[in-house]
Amino acid sequence: MPMDILDIAGIYGLLGACVAVVFLLWGIDRVDPNARGAWTFRPLLVPGVVLIWPLVLWRWWRISRGETLGKRHRPPRLAQDYLALALALAIPVLLVAALLARQNGPYERPAVMLEGPAAEQDKSAQ
């Protein structure tokens, strides 16, 4: 199963690299006028394209069709508020659960002297 994950990640990365080559050499000039003639910043975009290439293709397609996102001035404020609240509530719960689950290690336990095999044999002989 883990091999499958790595295989999928490898294929995903390979496709991402292909998209990066096409997008950064050809597509970017068509989606953003500020990128035309600007080459030095493009290598910085390679990791991003490789990581989120499906999103890149989706936006490229939308922009090439002349579609704009209607709610540009409505940032996901509520989503951010609720995520921040969920984070604030989850952290103490996780902290308490981890501390409760923590097992005492050998450092906290009193040492116990174990009897060796020779002592056990002596006992059985008696």
């Binding site: 790595l6 990791p47 404020r77 921040a84 604030a88 450092y107």
Partner: protein, 348 residues
């Protein structure tokens, strides 16, 4: 602002910000390595590789904790706003420190078997059905991937290309990533260590993030329950000259009501650049100035001054006796709206 992209837009303050960051990270790593050996768990041998991975791992956690504190701190106290300005460089550096931690882990714990390190990382513990002994590495991998995505999409191009709302949604992944980092530490290092120092620091840091976000949550603008078109602007007389009051219009929409002398204007609270909170900014040289990156807009029409081309929505205002109202139905970005004159003696 409508100029050709360059790799990094350096300004003197960014040099200082980044230099301070780099020095702090270097000092932390060196101090950790110097002091770490005697403080390390003496029941197990801690060698240099383990010490280095711990140094970078704890450093990445503390950096991420600070990053997540900056937002609510800036909301609670304006003096923290300058820390927001270059937070993206802070994030990129954090991702690099976390990656260094991961490389040390891979090249030590998973390096001495015939199984390739990455496979060993996924194979070594698959006890996903239990809390104690849960493969905490999975949380670390998730957080590292998210940090990588956020760092890789931090250039201004991504904001323009993805659009600010999509970019923002992508970067909201920082919240689950931070929770994953906390779980990574609590179910990993905390379960094993006998040295309480970092456990206490980690707990305090994580609880600090939680507390600050709760405090910022409590300070949100009052919600407007009414569905009427006109929404009352509370405490509008207290708006200082050149400053604003943020009004919630319901849902995700917020407006900023600015006072410029004896006139009031209302624009979207979201900057067209990165959706920064314009209402926390001020009017400089006659233009509303975003506190995050200095993008500017004219109060009368929401347009950036030439040669820049950014535009934000504008809103109508009206006075009804002593009360100020804003029309929740904003105009399209860049629409001119006559500022509302404040009657003589109306301001305190």
């Amino acid at each position: 602002m409508s100029v050709k992209y360059i790799p990094v837009q350096w300004v003197p303050t960014k040099y200082v910000y980044d230099a301070v960051l780099l020095v702090c990270v270097a000092v932390y790593i060196l101090v950790f390595l110097r002091l770490g050996t005697p403080a390390a768990d003496f029941t197990r041998p801690v060698d240099g590789a383990i010490l280095r991975m711990r140094a970078f791992g704890t450093c990445a956690f503390l950096m991420l904790t600070l990053i997540l504190c900056i937002g609510p701190l800036a909301q609670l106290d304006r003096r923290f706003l300058p820390l927001l300005y270059n937070r993206r460089h802070f994030g990129v550096l954090t991702a690099l420190v976390a990656l260094t931690h991961a490389v040390y882990v891979l090249n030590w714990y998973y390096a001495f078997s015939p199984t390739p390190p990455l496979e060993a990382l996924f194979y070594s513990n698959t006890s996903f059905g239990q809390f104690l002994g849960f493969p905490f590495e999975a949380f670390g991998i998730f957080a590292l991937v998210v940090l990588g995505i956020l760092a890789a999409t931090s250039h201004d191009f991504w904001l323009a290309f993805l659009s600010a709302p999509v970019w923002k949604r992508l970067h909201l992944l920082i919240y689950p990533a931070y929770l994953a980092v906390v779980a990574h530490i609590l179910l990993g290092y905390l379960q094993d260590t006998k040295n309480p120092t970092f456990a206490l620091i980690a707990g305090a840091g994580a609880l600090g993030v939680a507390g600050l976000h709760l405090a910022a949550w409590a300070r949100r603008p009052e919600k407007q329950a009414s569905q009427e078109d006109w929404v009352e602007v509370p405490h509008w007389r207290e708006i200082a000259d050149g400053r604003a009051r943020i009004v919630s219009l319901g849902g995700d929409e917020r407006a900023a009501v600015f006072r410029g002398g004896q006139k009031l204007s209302a624009v979207s609270n979201a900057c067209a650049h990165q959706n920064g909170p314009l209402g926390e900014g001020r009017i400089i040289d006659g233009c509303i100035t975003c506190p995050w990156h200095g993008f500017q807009y004219r109060p009368g029409d929401g347009c950036s001054p030439p040669p820049f081309t950014e535009k934000i929505p504008t809103y109508r205002l009206k006075l009804d006796g002593e009360r100020l109202f804003i029309d929740r139905n904003g105009y399209p970005p860049g629409t001119a709206v006559e500022p509302l004159a404040i009657p003589e003696g109306a301001l305190r």
